[in-house]
Symmetry: C2
Subunit: 275 residues, 2 copies
């Protein structure tokens, strides 16, 4: 079962212009002959590969890896984190969720609350939501004048370029679901009492502004996808395919780093351990 | 295959006096008929239980859980974290490793670097080393006058009591290995080039002071095991048994919390999701 390269298929190139309406949220064309069970079997292999790669990344302590995940509500941010990164040593991965900014956070520039959480050498950090909320929400909900979110495009690309040049590998994932799939997922939450806590009636207000959000994301992704920190638009209507695509993309990204166990400056042959 | 209760077997009661020389690092007596493969099978069940419990803990967002792990070098801190907590959603767990304090950290009280990392509601945090290093190392290596580490016993018990009273469940684990087992593990690291990075020739200096460290730990554990924040001395010469005992202990601790999915204030029947 051959899987195409998600980094080619789903990349938004620097200077490109993405149209979400033309991107299938259910586009499985890079896995043309694959069924769900094929996809899950392949994903299990990829998860083991990521687990092995992370061990070396951590030991080497050289690279820093930042994964930024954005999506509409129910887009699968939590599920993606759980699936793709669950096999990894919890010591080597940090997941940071950004909620609505607090008063203290709003009393600073919008990157102030982000910066302390970027990954350290040898570490992987996943942002579940990010500084991109402070563009999307500000724009669609008209929290400040338009100048604010417009200049933030520059602020985030400058910030990410600095991080990249200082040694951080950045992947930005937009989990792309259709409006019909969101409806199915919201209804499933309503049917399952163990998921009621995840359902916020206020989220329905965002759903009413679906087209505005999609348009804002199109503009955002087009203008902030750079070679230092590219965006990938992942078809995410099928959870198994989303996991497969993100897993492959992440494993391939690690593969391109020169991961190797560090060498030591002493000679193991010369060391004696006393009783 | 019956497993005894590690919370009974390995607890150091408040006011108790622990003698590590009388505690078998290879004591499997709570699992009398169990083999390694039995233990691993049982551990796999416990890991699934922890995974399920953590989901509710996170959804409920009420309790905070802090696990503090201390051990001599090669005692299995990293391995224990990886094994016991690997199945858990990485979003719900944070592992914080404390290294040798930086200049900035030393310019503050010894709890200054610790406090920001205590768990939030719904979260599990694991400290791989902790504020206890600032007692053990200070004492054995005579970094400051004796008064300093002596009064720190009070500082840590006061601090932990405050955390507990504010809603944090605290477990403190001493992974107890024998000096002979440490030798085997150090030699194994020397034989495996992929583990050389974990071997610091300086660690051998600590090994030379094994008895002093054991004595310092005995005193520390005896004086800082409280009902708010009890110490458990886990026989850790066998990795599979260490994982089994820590897993059981952790799952039982979660079991005692009133974990349940939160109820919501709205009526799922009344919500309509538009197309």
């Amino acid at each position: 079962m051959k899987l195409g390269d998600p980094r080619k298929a789903f990349l938004v190139p620097e200077g490109g212009k993405v149209k979400l309406t033309e991107k299938g949220a259910d586009d499985l064309s890079i896995f043309p002959d694959g069924s769900k069970s094929d996809g899950e079997a392949l994903f299990a292999e990829i998860a083991l590969q990521i687990k092995a790669q992370q061990k070396v990344l951590y030991a080497q302590g050289k690279h820093r890896v930042l994964v930024i995940i954005q999506a509409m509500d129910t887009g699968g941010k939590d599920g993606c984190v759980k699936s793709v990164f669950a096999s990894v040593d919890p010591q080597g991965i940090t997941v940071k969720s950004f909620k609505k900014p607090t008063e203290e956070e709003l009393a600073h520039d919008f990157l102030w609350r982000i910066h302390p959480h970027v990954p350290r050498s040898g570490g992987i950090t996943v942002f579940n939501r990010s500084h991109y909320e402070d563009i999307i929400a500000v724009r669609v909900k008209k929290l400040y004048e338009d100048e604010v979110w417009k200049r933030r495009y520059r602020h985030v690309t400058d910030f990410e370029q600095m991080l990249a040049e200082e040694g951080t590998t950045i992947l930005k994932l937009f989990l792309h679901i259709s409006k019909a799939e969101q409806k199915r997922r919201l209804e499933a939450r309503l049917r399952n009492p163990n998921k009621h806590w995840k359902f916020l009636p206020d989220d329905l207000a965002d759903r009413e502004r679906w087209a505005e959000f999609q348009h804002a994301y199109e503009d955002l992704i087009s203008k902030t996808s750079t070679r230092h920190a590219p965006w990938y638009v992942i078809p995410a209507d099928r959870k198994w395919f989303r996991n497969l695509a993100v897993g492959r993309l992440f494993a391939d990204t690690l593969q391109d780093l020169d991961l190797e166990y560090p060498t030591v400056s002493w000679d193991p042959e010369e060391i004696r351990i006393n009783d």
